[in-house]
């Protein structure tokens, strides 16, 4: 990243022989800003995709085909445990981002490993929930409600699994290449991805689990 803003301002001023527009320098952002903004827009489209799954679930929620309803199969203490894993992992992910910016190995690797452990605990717990549901005959093919449930919650679980692979890649890249600006941009994108998944989980535990038990 060179000081493009300055070059541009000088060239513009020389050709037109008028003062360069004040905003010319400000209009060029660093690659860190451009990359993170692009990734943020991608994450928002991912959220839009999740909202389609949410809408599907809410529409299908009462179509249980005489099968189990949410209140019959949801185990709220287990959901609270899963929520705790994800909230704590968001915090440790924040510590890891601070460590990456400060080039502090203890904070970065410690935060990333803690995030991985918590995320893996979440995925394993969710997997055992799902296999328990399938074992008791409440699999995704039982009713439209359960299809919507497995599609929505399973899609989030897949995202967390992908996030864990992303996380391991970022540990390996920082380990092999150090805190280079391009690697730090990827660490920033990983943190954005992880925090966004946590926001989607807030929607899931409210709309699917808590509202499903209240009704």
């Amino acid at each position: 990243m060179s000081i493009q803003g300055t070059d541009f301002a000088i060239a513009g001023g020389a050709v037109a022989d008028v003062p360069a527009p004040v905003h010319a320098e400000r209009s060029l952002a660093s690659r860190r800003i451009v990359t993170a903004f692009g990734f943020w827009v991608f994450l928002l489209t991912d959220v839009v995709m999740f909202s389609a799954f949410f809408a599907t679930y809410v529409v299908l929620e009462n179509m249980t085909a005489d099968g189990p309803r949410g209140v019959d199969v949801f185990n709220i203490p287990v959901v609270a445990l899963e929520t705790g894993y994800l909230l704590a992992s968001s915090f440790t992910c924040g510590i890891a981002s601070l460590g990456a910016r400060a080039r502090n190995n203890l904070m970065y690797y410690g935060g990333m490993v803690a995030t991985f452990v918590l995320g893996a605990a979440f995925v394993l717990q969710e997997f055992s929930d799902f296999s328990g549901l399938v074992a008791q005959g409440a699999g995704p093919s039982r009713s439209a409600f359960l299809s919507g449930y497995f599609a929505l919650v399973g899609c989030h679980g897949l995202h967390v699994t992908m996030g864990l692979l992303f996380l391991l890649t970022m540990i390996a890249q920082v380990f092999a290449k150090g805190y280079r600006p391009d690697i730090l941009r990827r660490v920033l994108c990983f943190a954005l991805f992880w925090h966004t998944l946590d926001i989607i989980w807030v929607g899931i535990f409210t709309v699917v689990y808590l509202l499903g038990v209240v009704r």
Partner: protein, 133 residues
């Protein structure tokens, strides 16, 4: 870090989503921010999980309360974890977020609205079955 890359000072016009303006007290300040975020979101989560089982509040208000708590918690995550704030240098990030929220709102509210009306205006399933025989 946010305003310096490869040691080159950059302008102060924008900020990357997820980044914070930082000074020398960066780490202490950053940890404090994440701790505040964690505390607020744990508070919202605990209240949300206690609500369905309690008889302390008026029962019909619980679904609305849960939705309000969820939106508040999402706001906490956006501000304290994603660092998307109302500062002028975060304006682009907020605009993208606002458009995303708008699309999400249209998708969910529109689907639920249309499907509820469809359900109400549709012939009951039993009669539909009888007509098909």
């Amino acid at each position: 870090m946010s305003d310096r890359e490869l040691g080159v000072p950059l302008h102060h016009g924008d900020i990357a989503p997820g980044d914070e303006r930082a000074d020398r007290t960066e780490i202490v300040h950053g940890i404090r921010g994440y701790l505040v975020g964690l505390g607020l979101s744990v508070l919202a989560t605990v209240v949300a999980f206690l609500l369905p089982g309690t008889s302390l509040v008026w029962q019909p208000s619980i679904p609305a309360a849960l939705i309000v708590l969820a939106i508040a918690q999402m706001g906490v995550h956006i501000v304290f974890f994603l660092h998307i704030t109302t500062r002028p240098d975060s304006a682009n990030n907020v605009m993208a977020l606002a458009f995303g929220v708008f699309v999400v709102f249209v998708l969910i509210v529109g689907s639920v609205w249309i499907m509820t009306h469809l359900n109400q205006n549709m012939m009951p399933m039993e009669r539909l079955m009888q007509m098909q025989r």
